[in-house]
C-alpha cells in the first residue's frame, strides 16, 4: 500500500486491475451496508465469468449473492422489486449484449418508476455489465450500445477507464439514489492496472477527468477508448500537436462544463467511441458543441467510432478505433481551417 499521488491527504492505495477494483468496490459496498445484495448469472459459486464477483458468495452468503436462472428479465425485474422494498441491489448482466431481454424492465420500469409515481417509488438499482470489443467476442460479446441508455430519461450511465475510477464510480453508483447503468470496459479489465485508494473512495458523477492537457484540439473519449486516445496524443505531441484528452467518465449526467471549457480553449473537437457512429453518443457531444460552442469552433467536429455495421469477429481490429485512426482524425482537425 502506498500513498495515492493525486490525493492531498495520506490515503493508502493498492495496485489493482480494473476488474479487481470492481471486485474490491463490491466487497466494500457489501461490508458497509447489509442492504446491498448482488444478483446475476454465475455471480456466486463461479464468481462471475470475468471473476468480478469472486469471493462475494463466500464472504456474504447465498442470501446476499444470488445465482439466478438464465433470465435478464428476471434479474432486472426482481432487482427492481428489491429496490422498491428498500434493498440496494447490484445486478450483473453477463455481457451488455445480453441485456436486451431486460430492456423493457430497464426503459419502461427502472427508468420511469420515480417519475411515474410522483416521487413515491424511487428505484435505485445498479446494473453492472461488461461492454465493448477487443476480446475477439464477435457480434455478441463486444457491443457498445450506451446510446440506448443515455437516450432514456431517468437512467444514469457511467463508464470507468481506470482502476481507481472503477472503484470510485462504482461506490458512488451504489450510494446514488437513482438507477445507474455501470458499463465496464472488459477489454481493459486486466490490461490496465493502477493505484486504487483504499476505503470509501468515491468519484462523483458528472465530472470528466482531463487525462492530458492540450491546447490545439480536444479529444473526448470514455472506457476502453481512453488509452488509445492518450496514446494518439503522445504520438501527436511528437509532431508538435497538443491534444487535450478528456475522459468523460459519466455520460449521464454529462460534464458539459468540462466539455465546453476544453473546446473553448482548443476550438477543435474529436469524439471517440467504439459504438456505431449513427446516433451514437458522439452525435450528442457533437450536437452539444454545435449548439453551445459554435463560436469557438475552428474546424468540423470529427467522430472516430465503430462503423455502422454489426460488430465483427475476424475484423474486430478493423472495426475498433485505434491510436492511428484517432491520430489521423486529430491531424485533420488541426489542419482544417
Amino acid at each position: 500500500m502506498r500513498r495515492h499521488p493525486r490525493d492531498p491527504v495520506e490515503v493508502a492505495v493498492t495496485e489493482l486491475t480494473v476488474v479487481q477494483a470492481v471486485n474490491r468496490a463490491l466487497h466494500e459496498a457489501m461490508r458497509a451496508d447489509p442492504d446491498v445484495v448482488v444478483l446475476g448469472e454465475d455471480v456466486g459459486v463461479n464468481g462471475g465469468v470475468f471473476r468480478a464477483t469472486d469471493g462475494l458468495l463466500k464472504e456474504f452468503g447465498a442470501d446476499r449473492v444470488l445465482d439466478t436462472p438464465l433470465s435478464e428479465t428476471g434479474i432486472v425485474g426482481t432487482a427492481i422489486g428489491m429496490a422498491l422494498y428498500g434493498l440496494k441491489p447490484v445486478a450483473e448482466i453477463q455481457f451488455l449484449d445480453f441485456i436486451y431481454p431486460a430492456f423493457d424492465q430497464i426503459v419502461s420500469e427502472l427508468a420511469k418508476l420515480r417519475y411515474r409515481s410522483g416521487g413515491q417509488f424511487p428505484c435505485h438499482v445498479v446494473i453492472r455489465t461488461p461492454y465493448g470489443g477487443g476480446i475477439k467476442g464477435g457480434l455478441y460479446h463486444s457491443q457498445s450500445t450506451e446510446a440506448y441508455f443515455c437516450h432514456t430519461a431517468g437512467l444514469k450511465v457511467v463508464v470507468p477507464s481506470t482502476p481507481a475510477d472503477a472503484k470510485g464510480l462504482l461506490l458512488s453508483a451504489v450510494a446514488d439514489e437513482d438507477p445507474v447503468i455501470f458499463l465496464e470496459p472488459k477489454r481493459i479489465y486486466r490490461a490496465v492496472s493502477g493505484e486504487v485508494p483504499d476505503g470509501d473512495h468515491r468519484v462523483p458523477f458528472g465530472q470528466a477527468r482531463t487525462v492530458r492537457d492540450g491546447t490545439d484540439v480536444s479529444v473526448f473519449a470514455y472506457g476502453a477508448m481512453v488509452p488509445p486516445s492518450a496514446e494518439a496524443a503522445t504520438t501527436l505531441a511528437g509532431e508538435g500537436i497538443s491534444a487535450e484528452v478528456v475522459d468523460l467518465r459519466s455520460l449521464v449526467p454529462l460534464d458539459e462544463a468540462a466539455v465546453l471549457a476544453s473546446v473553448a480553449k482548443t476550438g477543435r473537437a474529436v469524439v471517440v467511441h467504439e459504438a456505431a457512429r449513427f446516433c451514437g453518443f458522439g452525435a450528442e457531444l457533437a450536437a452539444l458543441l454545435a449548439e453551445k460552442a459554435f463560436y469557438s469552433l475552428k474546424a468540423p467536429i470529427a467522430r472516430v467510432t465503430g462503423y455502422d455495421t454489426p460488430f465483427p469477429y475476424a475484423l474486430e481490429h478493423v472495426y475498433l478505433p485505434g491510436p492511428e485512426r484517432i491520430a489521423a482524425a486529430v491531424r485533420d482537425a488541426v489542419r482544417a481551417n
Binding site: V37, D63, R64, L66, T68, P69, S71, T73, G74, V76, G77, T78, A79, I80, G81, M82, A83, L84, Y85, G86, L87, P89, P101, D104, Q105, S108, E109, K112, L113, R114, Y115, R116, S117, G118, G119, Q120, F121, P122, A153, G154, K156, E177, D178, G206, V252, P253, L254, E256, A257
Partner: protein, 358 residues
C-alpha cells in the same frame, strides 16, 4: 384529501374467514367501486377525464383478495385494481384525483387514469406495459424474506399477461427462490379481443404454476368468500416459508377493455348477458339478504351513500388546481441534473413563466 375509506378502522385487517359483519363491509366497498366504475365511464364520455379502464364484474375477486392481505403486505397491481387500493385504506379522493390528473394527484398528473401509486398503502406504481409488475413483486418478496418480515407480496394481472415475458420470469424466479408471493390472475376470458382459448392452450391458467414447481389453484372469482379463502391460504403458505402460489380467479368483466375499446367488434353480447347472471355484487347482496344482514332500504342507503361520496370526490377533484407545468422536470432523478435545470429554464421561458427553483 377526503377521508372516505373502504375499511372501517375498527375491523381487524384480515382474519382467516370473512365474518358476516366483514362481508357487509365487503359489500359496501363493492357497491362503492361499482358506482365509481359507472360514474367514471360517464365522466370519460363527457370528456371530463381522459380515459378509464372499468372493472365491473371483478369486484369479488378484487375485494376478496385485498381483504385477505395485511398492512405490511405489498401490492403490485396492473391497471384495474383501484378497489384493492380502497380496501387498503387509500382515500377515495386520492383515487379520483389520479383519474383527473390534477395538482392533488399523488402521481402529479404524469400517468393516464388508472395508473395509481400509493406508497403509504404499499400499493406500487402501476404501469401500462403488461406483466412488468410480476417479477417486481417477486423481487420485493425476496427482499421481504431477506428482511425476515412476516409479510408477502401479491401481484395482480390478467389472462393476457400470462403470455408475457415477465410472467415467465417472475413465476420461475418465485419457484426457484421460494419467494413469498401470490400471483393473482384475474382471468376474464379476454385480452382485449383475444379470447382465453387463443391466448394459450394450457388447460387452465393455474396449471401453468406446475411448470414452475408450485401450486396453482382455480377459484370462482364471483365468490368473495372463496377468493378470500384462497388468498388467505396462499398467504399462509408464503409466510410459513412454503413459497409462492398462483391463483386463477375466473371472472367476467361486463364493460369494455377500456374507454378506447369497442367490444361489440369481437365479443358476443349474449356472453355478457349470461355473465351478468353471476354478477358478484348481486350475489353477495342476495347472500346478505338471505341471512338477514341486509334489506332493500339498507341496500338503497349503501348505494346512495356511495354515489354521494363519489359526487363529492369528483366535485373536489374538478376544483383542484392544475399541475404546475414546471413539475415536468421533477422526479426524473432525485435531484435535477444541470441539463434538466437548463431545459426547465427554457421551458419556463417558452411558457412565459419565471423559472423559480424550489
Amino acid at each position: 384529501m377526503s377521508t372516505t375509506s373502504a375499511r372501517p378502522q375498527s375491523e381487524p385487517a384480515s382474519p382467516d374467514g370473512l365474518s358476516e359483519p366483514r362481508l357487509l363491509g365487503a359489500y359496501r366497498t363493492m357497491a362503492l367501486v361499482r358506482a365509481l366504475d359507472e360514474r367514471c365511464l360517464a365522466l370519460q364520455r363527457q370528456g371530463r377525464i381522459g380515459f378509464y379502464a372499468p372493472h365491473a364484474g371483478q369486484e369479488a375477486a378484487l375485494i376478496g383478495s385485498a381483504l385477505a392481505l395485511e398492512t405490511d403486505d405489498w401490492v403490485f397491481p396492473a391497471y384495474r385494481e383501484l378497489a384493492v387500493a380502497l380496501v387498503r385504506g387509500v382515500p377515495l379522493q386520492a383515487i379520483v384525483d389520479q383519474l383527473f390528473g390534477n395538482a392533488d394527484d399523488l402521481v402529479k398528473g404524469r400517468q393516464m387514469p388508472n395508473h395509481f401509486s400509493f406508497r403509504d398503502q404499499h400499493f406500487v406504481s402501476a404501469s401500462s406495459p403488461i406483466g412488468t409488475q410480476i417479477p417486481q413483486a417477486v423481487g420485493a418478496a425476496m427482499a421481504v424474506r431477506y428482511r425476515q418480515a412476516p409479510a408477502v407480496t401479491i401481484t395482480y394481472f390478467g389472462d393476457g399477461a400470462t403470455s408475457s415475458n415477465d410472467f415467465h420470469a417472475g413465476m420461475n424466479f418465485a419457484g426457484v427462490f421460494r419467494a413469498p408471493t401470490i400471483f393473482f390472475c384475474q382471468n376474464n376470458g379476454w385480452a382485449i379481443s383475444l379470447p382465453r382459448e387463443r391466448q394459450t392452450r394450457s388447460a387452465t391458467l393455474a396449471a401453468k404454476a406446475e411448470a414452475y414447481g408450485f401450486p396453482g389453484v382455480v377459484v370462482d372469482g364471483n365468490d368473495v368468500r372463496a377468493v378470500h379463502a384462497a388468498v388467505r391460504s396462499a398467504r399462509g403458505r408464503a409466510v410459513r416459508g412454503d413459497g409462492p402460489t398462483m391463483i386463477e380467479a375466473q371472472v367476467y368483466r361486463f364493460g369494455p377493455h377500456s374507454t378506447s375499446d369497442d367490444p361489440t367488434r369481437y365479443r358476443p353480447e349474449a356472453q355478457v348477458a349470461a355473465a351478468r347472471e353471476h354478477d358478484p355484487v348481486a350475489r353477495l347482496k342476495a347472500d346478505l339478504v338471505a341471512v338477514g344482514r341486509l334489506d332493500e332500504p339498507g341496500d338503497a342507503r349503501i348505494w346512495e351513500e356511495s354515489r354521494a361520496a363519489i359526487a363529492a370526490a369528483v366535485a373536489h377533484a374538478e376544483k383542484a388546481a392544475l399541475v404546475d407545468p414546471l413539475s415536468l422536470f421533477d422526479d426524473v432523478f432525485a435531484r435535477r441534473s444541470p441539463r434538466l435545470e437548463e431545459e426547465r429554464g427554457q421551458c419556463a421561458a417558452t411558457l412565459g413563466t419565471p423559472s423559480r427553483s424550489p
